[in-house]
């Protein structure tokens, strides 16, 4: 295995730590690395699209899984695939979209590995209908300090659901079998509407989300006063071939996910100030059609709009940024919490490009899985913003009070005593983990910071 000392961060570029990075090329390499792990332990890392310190392990070993990336079996009839954990969703899409298959769940970027998607139990714009990633995982192979396990939700439900959302702390996933969605075109039929404020957005989503497979609202959190919470709601589903414009019908499953722009290697700190972001948001809101139905758009621009600019996270400057994402249960308390969050962010003038608001459907049995029925709000903020720590700590309280939680895949700054009550099944999860890893080999910076294991 190739090994190197590297300074690692997550996608937010904050809190770098030094680690020995090894790149396994086979499950045997993974077993060997686990057997030889140093005192400070080991954790897997995919494409490092989690924002905080989940895929870091200061002073220990990090297994970069991206070389373990073979597609083993594609069952077009049965809509299933067996892949290595280091396969990215982009790689899967390139291969499978032309064959009429698409991941059941994809996050807002396709630059994530299957292992990372399982470990965070990621969700997409269709959570209200189909649940999260692990709802569609039929089986996976898990390397643990206690040996190799072939896990299915029926045969080994404890280990399966402790790993779903378990942030790499139950073992290293090397292979997985996924159920796929059948598609007949690579285009999305998209409806767009603008909402004048937050209440308007929430009531429009409440009424019509169930009519669509995919749905999400983008909120301009910098808008104030009567515009506070103004949003653009986009919803849709895969188009049928006869809905495509004639020129596309010859190749209904054509797919080009490629990056078209590369961000320069550095941006001056403070580039994203309130004025520039406000102007950008204004332009973007005005550009969105007030109401439009049946637009046909490429799936990449619908699902992964940011993937078109490679390395866009560098726009936040050297201090990096963080993403704040929470979910609160439906009901008056949860809705009040969303409103409070948007109000505080708007009042603080957080220079954030849009926030994303979405409605979740039922959660799954994952002990640390994030989604629960409720509203989830997500936004990026530059780490250097004055008063950010206090703002976030205050929002944590609002979320906790409302019975909600923060998303570990985005988390980089909360306190352990805030996270623990948000995940009431943490102790149950710890017990299962302790059986898989009695010596505490599986460890990450996040596990240390949040006192998870």
């Amino acid at each position: 295995m190739d090994e190197n000392i590297e300074l690692l961060t997550g996608w937010g570029g904050t809190a770098p730590t030094a680690t020995r990075v090894a790149e396994p090329h086979s499950p045997g390499d993974v077993r060997e690395a686990i057997a030889e792990a140093p005192d400070r332990g080991l954790v897997a890392r995919g494409l490092a699209r989690s924002y905080g310190d989940a895929a870091q392990n200061a002073g220990g070993v990090v297994l970069r899984m991206t070389e373990l990336a073979a597609v083993h079996d594609v069952d077009i009839e049965g809509a299933g695939v067996t892949v290595d954990a280091g396969v990215s969703l982009e790689q899967l899409m390139r291969l499978l979209v032309p064959l009429g298959l698409f991941p059941m769940v994809t996050p807002g970027t396709c630059q994530v590995t299957v292992g990372g998607a399982i470990a965070a139990d990621v969700h997409g714009k269709n959570h209200h209908g189909v649940g999260s990633f692990c709802n569609h995982v039929e089986a996976f192979t898990l390397e643990t300090p206690q040996g190799t396990r072939h896990v299915t939700p029926d045969r080994d439900p404890d280990v399966f659901w402790a790993t779903a959302g378990g942030m790499g702390l139950t073992g290293v996933v090397t292979q997985a079998r996924l159920r796929m969605k059948r598609i007949r075109t690579s285009r999305i039929r998209m409806d767009t509407e603008r909402a004048s404020d937050l209440d308007d957005a929430m009531s429009r989503m409440e009424q019509r989300d169930s009519d669509y497979h995919y749905s999400v609202a983008w909120i301009d959190v910098m808008a104030r006063g009567s515009h506070m919470g103004r949003s653009v709601i986009t919803r849709g589903d895969f188009a049928e071939p006869d809905e495509l414009p004639t020129r596309m019908r010859s190749d209904p499953l054509g797919f080009k996910p490629s990056t078209v722009l590369t961000a320069p290697p550095w941006f001056p700190n403070g580039l994203l100030n309130k004025v520039s972001v406000r102007a950008f948001n204004e332009l973007w809101f005005r550009k969105a059609p007030r109401h439009q139905e049946g637009a046909i758009v490429p799936l990449a621009s619908f699902h992964h709009p940011l993937d078109f600019v490679h390395g866009w996270n560098r726009i936040y400057g050297t201090r990096g940024f963080l993403q704040y994402q929470f979910v609160v249960p439906y009901g008056p308390e949860g809705e009040a919490a969303v409103r409070t969050a948007v109000e505080r962010l708007s009042a603080h003038g957080a220079p954030s490009f849009r926030a994303v608001l979405k409605r979740f459907g039922p959660g799954n049995p994952g002990h640390l899985s994030f989604p629960m029925p409720g509203w989830t709000l997500t936004l990026d903020v530059p780490a250097g913003m004055p008063g950010l720590a206090g703002l976030c700590d205050g929002l944590d309280e609002v979320v906790l009070e409302a019975g909600g939680r923060l998303y570990l895949a985005k988390e980089s700054r909360a306190k352990p005593w805030v996270i623990h009550p948000m995940y009431p099944r943490l102790d149950e999860w710890r017990e299962i983990r302790a059986k898989l890893d009695p010596g505490g080999v599986l460890r990450s910076d996040m596990a240390r910071r949040l006192d998870l294991c």
């Binding site: 000392i5 300074l7 937010g12 904050t14 809190a15 770098p16 730590t17 030094a18 680690t19 400070r40 905080g52 310190d53 392990n57 200061a58 002073g59 220990g60 201090r319 990096g320 963080l322 780490a383 250097g384 950010l388 720590a389 976030c392 980089s412 700054r413 909360a414 306190k415 910076d445 240390r448 910071r449």
Partner: protein, 253 residues
């Protein structure tokens, strides 16, 4: 672990009875720090500070004997302190003595004793600290230097030279540690109202220990390498740096 906004969880304080150190420990406790080792010579003083931190929300505060001049004991002392805390997110090097320059003008032994604490003692304890921090792959070493390290002054040149030595050592150390996950932050306060300066007249830009503490917290958040307290004193010092010696000698600084 230090988080994305620079909050730390566990701190080793060298000079646990220092007013600046205690103000900093309290400030960082408000920011979420919970585990401490306070090290120094004055056991009763350390215990009193430990109580105050526990009352402020800390969950674990140990006190340890530490003398800067006992360089033979530094390695085992550091090993034990890291053993008690597990990961150490921040080591605060706050011990130091100012001395009385009039006496230091002619007392060779007093000058050597001062240097033995401020410079030799600090360098000695930093070696094992660096080793342990490199091993854990992360951490910040925050060292109390002073504006007096910037330019030699008639009124405190023995102190100033010892701090200048430490300051330069830490600048080079910081550069040497790039890529290791260990970060060195040098703090250069002007005059601070503490036990060290008791009875001395305030000069312009004199601050309180709490101001130094706030600047350290902000420095951790922004990953600074050098922190001036108060901020504007940086510009005063950069002005003074270019004043010719013949003139500087006569300035009341």
């Amino acid at each position: 672990m230090q988080d994305a906004l620079g909050s730390v969880q566990s701190i080793l304080v060298l000079g646990g009875t220092s007013d600046i150190a205690q103000a900093t420990a309290l400030e960082l406790t408000r920011g979420g720090a919970r585990r401490f080792v306070l090290a120094g010579r004055d056991v009763a003083g350390l215990d009193a500070n430990a109580k105050e931190l526990l009352a402020a929300g800390a969950s674990q505060v140990d006190t340890r004997q530490f003398d800067a001049v006992d360089t033979y004991g530094h390695e085992s002392f550091v090993r034990e302190a890291f053993g008690v805390l597990g990961d150490v997110d921040l080591v605060l090097v706050a011990f130091g003595v100012l001395g009385d320059q009039e006496r230091l003008d002619h007392d060779r032994q007093a000058a050597m004793d001062l240097i033995a604490v401020n410079y030799v003692g600090a360098v000695s304890v930093l070696y094992p600290v660096v080793e342990h921090m490199k091993e854990q792959g992360h951490g910040t070493i925050c060292v109390l230097s002073t504006v007096a390290a910037e330019r030699a002054r008639r009124s405190n040149y023995v102190y100033g030279s010892s701090k200048a030595g430490l300051d330069w050592f830490c600048q080079g150390l910081g550069d040497a540690l790039v890529g290791t996950g260990v970060h060195v932050m040098i703090v250069r306060p002007g005059m601070v109202r503490t036990r060290m300066t008791e009875g001395m007249e305030d000069v312009p830009l004199t601050v309180d220990p709490e101001d130094v503490a706030a600047a350290i917290r902000e420095g951790l958040a922004s990953g600074r390498e050098i922190v001036w307290v108060p901020g504007p004193i940086r510009w005063v010092m950069s002005g003074l740096r270019h004043v010719p010696r013949a003139l500087f000698r006569r300035l009341p600084v």
